[in-house]
Symmetry: C2
Subunit: 737 residues, 2 copies
Amino acid sequence: MEQKFNVVGKRLPKVDAWERVSGKARYASDVYLPGMLYGKILRSPYPHARIINIDISKAKALPGVKAIITPKDTPTFRWHKDMPILTDVARFQGDDIAAVVAVDEERAAEAIELIKVEYEVLPFVLDPEEAMKPEAPKIHPEGNIIGGKPQVLKRGDIEKGFQEAEVILENTYRTSLLQHVTSEPRVCVAHWEGGRLTIWDSTQYTFGVQSGVAKALKLPMSKVRVICEFMGGGFGDKTTSERYNVLAAFLSMKTGRPVRIEFDRAENFLAAHHRYPTVWYLKYGAKKDGTLVAIYAKVIADMGGYAHFAGAGGNLETIKSVYRCPNLMAEGFSVYTNKPEGGFMRCVGHPQAQYPQEVHMDMLAERLGMDPVEFRLKNFARLEDGDQDRKFPFTSNGLEDCIKRGAELFRWQEKWRRPGSSPGPLKRGVGMAIHACRHGAMTEPSSGMVRVNADGTVNVLTGTSDIGGGQKRTMAIIAAEELGVPVDAVYVTAADTEVTTDTGGTTGSRQTMTGGTGVRLAAADAKRQILKIAAQELKTEPDKLEIKNSIVYPIGADKGIPLVDVLKKAPATIVGRGIGRVPKNKVIHSFAAHFVEVEVDVTTGQVRILRLVAAHDVGRAINLQSLENQIEGGAIQGMGFGLLEEQLFDGKTGLCLNPNVLDYKLMTIKDVPEIKPLIVESNDPYGPFGAKGVGEPPYSVPAPAIANAIYNATGVRFNKIPISVRAILEGLKTKKG
Amino acid sequence: MEQKFNVVGKRLPKVDAWERVSGKARYASDVYLPGMLYGKILRSPYPHARIINIDISKAKALPGVKAIITPKDTPTFRWHKDMPILTDVARFQGDDIAAVVAVDEERAAEAIELIKVEYEVLPFVLDPEEAMKPEAPKIHPEGNIIGGKPQVLKRGDIEKGFQEAEVILENTYRTSLLQHVTSEPRVCVAHWEGGRLTIWDSTQYTFGVQSGVAKALKLPMSKVRVICEFMGGGFGDKTTSERYNVLAAFLSMKTGRPVRIEFDRAENFLAAHHRYPTVWYLKYGAKKDGTLVAIYAKVIADMGGYAHFAGAGGNLETIKSVYRCPNLMAEGFSVYTNKPEGGFMRCVGHPQAQYPQEVHMDMLAERLGMDPVEFRLKNFARLEDGDQDRKFPFTSNGLEDCIKRGAELFRWQEKWRRPGSSPGPLKRGVGMAIHACRHGAMTEPSSGMVRVNADGTVNVLTGTSDIGGGQKRTMAIIAAEELGVPVDAVYVTAADTEVTTDTGGTTGSRQTMTGGTGVRLAAADAKRQILKIAAQELKTEPDKLEIKNSIVYPIGADKGIPLVDVLKKAPATIVGRGIGRVPKNKVIHSFAAHFVEVEVDVTTGQVRILRLVAAHDVGRAINLQSLENQIEGGAIQGMGFGLLEEQLFDGKTGLCLNPNVLDYKLMTIKDVPEIKPLIVESNDPYGPFGAKGVGEPPYSVPAPAIANAIYNATGVRFNKIPISVRAILEGLKTKKG
């Protein structure tokens, strides 16, 4: 049955587009308070060193310096067990050792210079495979394998699977260390006043910052307020409370004045989070007809100096979901090295897995003599597959449509040619990759509030941070659709912990489904109250009424009473609240298939991406504008993952060679090809109006599609990304040689 | 049955005491925004004049002037039918004619000077009795009696009442024109940005400002946010949206920059609201045994140039409530004059009525040869009296206790002496007065929200403005008591229209009962949700559980589960909401009796108040500290009403002679006697934990009690307040003569 919508599916600008483009938007980095102090962090110049002594006497004597703290002065709270707020053992270049506040930034920077730290430089290890060896320098006392052993997934009988297999393919792959490079680096202002802390933070998750800071400083949550009005990019780097939040808060409590801590670009490259590098060994087995019968994967995830999370587990999630396969075994080691801290980056770790798996599948298709599309259509996980271990179906699955409609739009049949058959020197090739992941799904808590004003206009109160993805507009559309009011009557207040409710972070592509469900249920709750009053007025039952364009009608009638008149009968402002629940024994996933054409200049090694078709199952398009923007933005960033982005480290010193946006290469608008988003609406029964999220999936798919297209163009396989100009030239040389 | 409370009834400081005394509190007058412009209003120098022409050319040419508006440029919206936003007929000295915004205050003031207005000066009228005459200058086209006729109240048969009466007493009384003289004059900052208006206003009712400005400027309420974090005194002057709010908003929309408008002290004296003067004729009849049988009252309320409301109706409310009397007639004329606009001031108009009635009752007691206390105890309105016209009882009534316990504490029997019998020149005397009024009662909307955080701490979201009376602390106590958590775990967010719900203004002594009921019901709603989860855990019924000190116990048990553990089982943050309803066919009133001793220096005319016992039926003391502060503050202001405060006007020019705090006399701390608050707890069944409000009642009672005490000391009656030094000396002279 086709649903008809008033607002859902339209193409609307962001609610705050004007503020964003006019410079009026107040980002955390725009918060300047009277009497504010400026904080700076003293960071380790070594990748691994013990701090023997810290002499702050000269720094303290500098006029304008208001406080200096070292490890002994800070709360004993630790993040993820192994990370102190300030450390006396530096585990990566940039590790936090001391902090200063002063009346201006220059003074604070000067004070940092004046602090004399005596270091015992320790041997370091950069390579995760090296770090696993017994003789490697120990970064934490319990050894370099986080948790002491691998995470293991098993399904069916992997031995039997490989026995049944008629074709078996093994290969190794590597992905690199990337930074999010948000327009706005990490920044917060903390203000302790009247026994209460207010933090303006550039964060994807105000409630995460609130609870983390409250715990670290032993404060009641009711007296910690975290606000993020606007934020300049997160991509997973700003998903929860971090050391700098606690430092700013602690220093504000110590000095009684507002304290600002803002990372510069180099600090963000060294001491913020990173897409952690991975090393893969894959061994897949298939029957001659193309049926996958065995998947074995091993990953080593290089988490850097601290265990923000066990990243290998994040990598393996997607390996087990994309394809139907009865026998699977996957092992993941999360390993400490003396590199920057690994974390989330546009997904917990699926892109690092999607690249090797989809290249591997491409190779396997070739080995089987099958078309890559045909091979995927044979093996992709169906609606009923879902969680193949626990036998839970998906709630919706548009993957087949993504593959078929994407291939058609791309004209795959016509475009595909035998690998390496393109004439030079500008060789063209096409490639594709598919995607499935739990991101875009609903999680708990899912909540929202809606207030209907006396004039029939609506305020939405949601914990959802709008991190630039247009989440406020999405929530406004959902509330307007549910309540039957014009979308411009809705104003959305977001991500202020004092006045909204926790609905998870704007992470994991979560908010359309999670925050959106909270808002939709809250709007439905408000509507119920309104219709109850209207039913008394109209002497009918509430379920025989509907609201359209701010008028309450008996269903199907063409005369009704204005909403504003119904509201006059309400004893007080109508407040709706909603709490969404995750369905049990079912799995919500989002799906995608990308198709790309590239041109490789074999004389220069330059790769030009010519066009990309990005087919995504989003359940339902709430706002076409922001949906397409998300797909485009994610795909562009994913192209950088495949071709350009990599933080490089010097093997002799362990220091980062390119902590700046000149030497760290990013996609620019000149590199961006024509991108065609293709929207597949599988109408998820648990999403608001059928919607699922789409924040992360577009990132995962371009890199393997591009790698496959480069192979299709050149006949050369690249087993590491980014596939740089140097890698191309070397690869072509090797092939010739 | 005695209730036991954990927090209710304790003596706690204001939650924001530190911020208030340290200067950290951000009042509307502390709001300075980047790029802000300063607005000034051109005010009429005449009490009555027609504007013939306005020449803005010179003002416009002044560098730094960003906009000038005159009556023709403003929205056509009118307040209470007769008041335009800018006027082309000035109806009082200070009437708003034009407005300017400039880059600083000095430039704005200079621009005001440069605007040339051509006036046709019109004849004016200052005296309300004169204004009622046919030949008086017409201030509005429909004549000077607002509504064209008096408001009339009738009960029983007034003719028959006077026929039955054995003693009849007639007299006339006058009260004067007062200003609230708030520490913080009227001030707001309006900021139009991204299609949305934010106003920081010094207001008692953010929602009133929101709806008024939204209506005036035809904006959706969802896009008008009004915030009042702290405010420096309201007393009824800041109860709703005013011209300056709309002017600031309109000028911000016009210029695209934040606009600040702040009244100076003289502007507040001229163009803010006022306690409107009244003229009374009273005729009361009683039987010889002291039984009141007839009340006739006539009042002329002088509302000034615009009809903010029909003030005579406000005056008459209390006349009919305080005493049980079967026959009553009251007539009230609300009249325009060319004086400043009358409005609410610590009550709608009861103090102006309480003074004549209680002096009249004192005289009648003397005529009957009865003790004034005995006479009141004979006639005061009992629990069953309530609305004597509609035969609705009071919900609670502690008036008898107020009179009896107050008299006892004061040692009335011992102190009272025959009028005029005190030896000179320092004559001592005692007086008393009683009070009953609908203020302190509950009204609709009554609403609130409560959020219980994951750590068991609580955020209260209430529309209640904390105007300095400690309302935030009151709400925190109510939430803490209901939820069984420590009061320090509660943080109260108040009076931000975006994130709270309308629960009426902090006017009419409303918020303890009205906002408090909303918060209590919201907390109860949250508690219900918590106990439901706990009951599942403890395998019992929710109603067999209670929360004490953040632990959920089976009722009576000494072992329970921590609230924080119960909350872990909640699917999302617990949000409670509450809507209170006013009881039907019942009347909620607050009651008081004051007893005062004065010393009159018959050589200088100086009156010294020696001590005051202020007995108040508050239903239940929520916070003893703020309760006693309210009683003391109200009583002190009420003493000024009786002895000092009066705006004076020159009969020849119609201009105010003392629009400043040097010439307008206020009580100072040196004038304040020992005040003994006596708390009577009648435990109102509809109040939160039995509480009623107390904001206004303490103001009404001192003036008549003092007037009666002065009579008791000197033997001279004064029929007009304030009873100034000059009045005392003249009165004593007349008596001797």
